[in-house]
């Protein structure tokens, strides 16, 4: 099949950047979207041009590296699917597709489609962990955890840290990511103990990293490749308010 890509090219953080159109006449419906870029890059290399820079690693939907906004939608049109798992059979022959990087103040563009997502790491560093020293843990069976809690914690824990939620949110907010992590840890007895300080630290780190405020728009959950439910934000808000209340 033949596709036309309009891709955001930007030489570096200081460059203004703009869309550039490329034809890929030899695409196949079995290709993944990233393989389409591989094919294009191979051609650009052959003609001496710089290939399009984009983030990717596992190519199986789990590392969270891939990060393309395809026709305005982070990770493209297929629900619950990362860019690397999106295949061209979901596009029409002859279609023209716009490809852009994640856009947010907290995610400055490094080059072309590659952005800096270290803000997400800073949120975790602020409190996204259980203070469990290595080497001297209690017996794993000492604390049974109700299956429902364990399952709900797992659901929240499946977040791959891709940042699509931020890319989709009209406010550039990372609430879904932050709340998913806080929910995962807060639901487990091991993590409950320090939930107050955790959520307080995480929301501050979130705001300091230039992410916007959540107004419950719900775009984030719609694009989240792991389908993290919006409910985690409600729970997180309750925890933040509760922490503030108990802190007084």
């Amino acid at each position: 099949m033949k596709l036309t890509l309009r891709i955001w090219r930007q030489k570096g953080p200081e460059d203004r950047g703009g869309m550039v159109a490329y034809d890929v006449p030899d695409a196949s419906a079995d290709m993944s979207f990233l393989e389409l870029l591989d094919v294009l890059n191979e051609r650009l290399t052959a003609s001496g041009e710089e290939p399009v820079a984009f983030d990717h690693d596992c190519r199986e939907g789990i590392c969270g590296a891939c990060s393309l906004v395809i026709d305005g939608v982070p990770h493209g049109p297929q629900k619950a699917t990362t860019t690397c798992q999106l295949h061209l059979r979901h596009f029409r022959d002859g279609q023209s597709i716009d490809v852009e990087p994640w856009r947010a103040a907290a995610f400055p563009v490094v080059k072309d489609l590659v952005v800096d997502r270290s803000g997400l790491d800073r949120i975790i560093e602020a409190g996204g962990y259980v203070t469990a020293p290595t080497g001297a843990a209690p017996e794993a069976h000492a604390t049974p955890i109700p299956k429902a809690d364990a399952d709900a914690a797992f659901e929240a824990a499946t977040c791959i840290g891709c940042g699509a939620c931020v890319a989709a949110c009209p406010n550039g907010s990372a609430m879904l990511f932050t709340a998913a992590k806080a929910t995962h840890l807060g639901l487990l007895p091991q993590g409950k103990v320090e939930q107050d300080t955790r959520v307080d630290a995480m929301i501050h780190a979130h705001d300091e990293a230039d992410f916007g405020g959540c107004t419950n728009t719900g775009e984030c959950t719609a694009v989240c490749p792991k389908g993290i439910p919006l409910g985690v934000i409600g729970r997180f808000n309750a925890d933040v308010l509760g922490a503030a209340w108990r802190g007084r």
């Binding site: 309009r6 955001w8 869309m19 906004v69 026709d71 305005g72 939608v73 716009d98 852009e100 856009r103 947010a104 103040a105 907290a106 709900a152 989709a168 009209p170 406010n171 550039g172 907010s173 230039d210 992410f211 916007g212 405020g213 959540c214 107004t215 419950n216 728009t217 719900g218 775009e219 959950t221 719609a222 694009v223 439910p229 919006l230 409910g231 985690v232 934000i233 409600g234 729970r235 997180f236 808000n237 309750a238 925890d239 933040v240 308010l241 509760g242």
Partner: protein
């Protein structure tokens, strides 16, 4: 900031609910409705002076509106800052329209409230403009289809705003758990539909001629 937004929204919400219910009194006839308007001005008398309680309400409302709008502006500016470069390909709406239209919806409502005050409270924009005779004023209004249209647009905007507003408020205030999420969604929708219907019933009733 979000909390101020939600709390001020909640005050407006309470007022609006009361207001809608009050408006329904129009179905009980002119005197009932006018009496209600009069009563509004005399609650608490003689403890508080004439229109005292009303003014307290008005002050409360004004404060809420100011806070609410200020917060809306701040949040919007923060959102702009958080996405300094826009997408070239404008993102299609993935979530809900009600959510995506909060800001413009809010502006429409604000404009409407100004007009509405001039219309029914101050009276300058009213076809009759009879002070102390709200029933007359209201019925005079909705004899004209375009005024009905203005109100309809505004009330529908309010409906959307409330649908998302109520739902969002419960979330912001952390009153939602993953389990209660769908329930809350339905409550919000139901509430918004009731409010819209309640408000709309008056102008349509007048226009169609059931009242007046």
């Amino acid at each position: 900031m979000k909390i101020a937004m939600a709390l001020s929204g909640a005050v407006l919400l309470a007022y609006l609910t009361a207001h809608m219910l009050g408006n329904l009194k129009i179905f009980f006839g002119e005197s009932s409705f006018d009496h209600y308007a009069h009563w509004l001005r005399t609650i608490g008398e003689p403890l508080v002076p004439h229109e005292g309680t009303l003014w307290i309400i008005r002050v409360g409302l004004t404060v809420s509106v100011v806070v609410h709008m200020a917060m809306a502006i701040l949040l919007t500016r923060r959102a702009r800052r958080a996405r300094p470069v826009k997408y070239v390909h404008r993102p299609p709406v993935q979530g809900s329209y009600a959510a995506r239209t909060m800001r413009w919806g809010g502006v429409i409502i604000a404009l409407f409230v100004v007009y509405h005050l001039l219309d029914l409270t101050v009276g300058v924009a009213n076809p009759t403009g009879a002070a102390g005779k709200p029933y007359t004023n209201v019925t005079a209004d909705f004899e004209h289809w375009y005024i009905t249209a203005i109100y309809t647009v505004a009330v529908v905007a309010v409906g959307f705003h409330l649908r998302h507003g109520v739902w969002s408020m419960t979330r912001t205030l952390g009153r939602q758990r993953p389990g209660t999420e769908r329930l809350m969604g339905r409550v919000a929708t139901g509430y918004a539909v009731l409010m819209t219907a309640g408000f709309l019933s008056v102008p349509f009733a007048v226009t169609v001629g059931i009242v007046g």
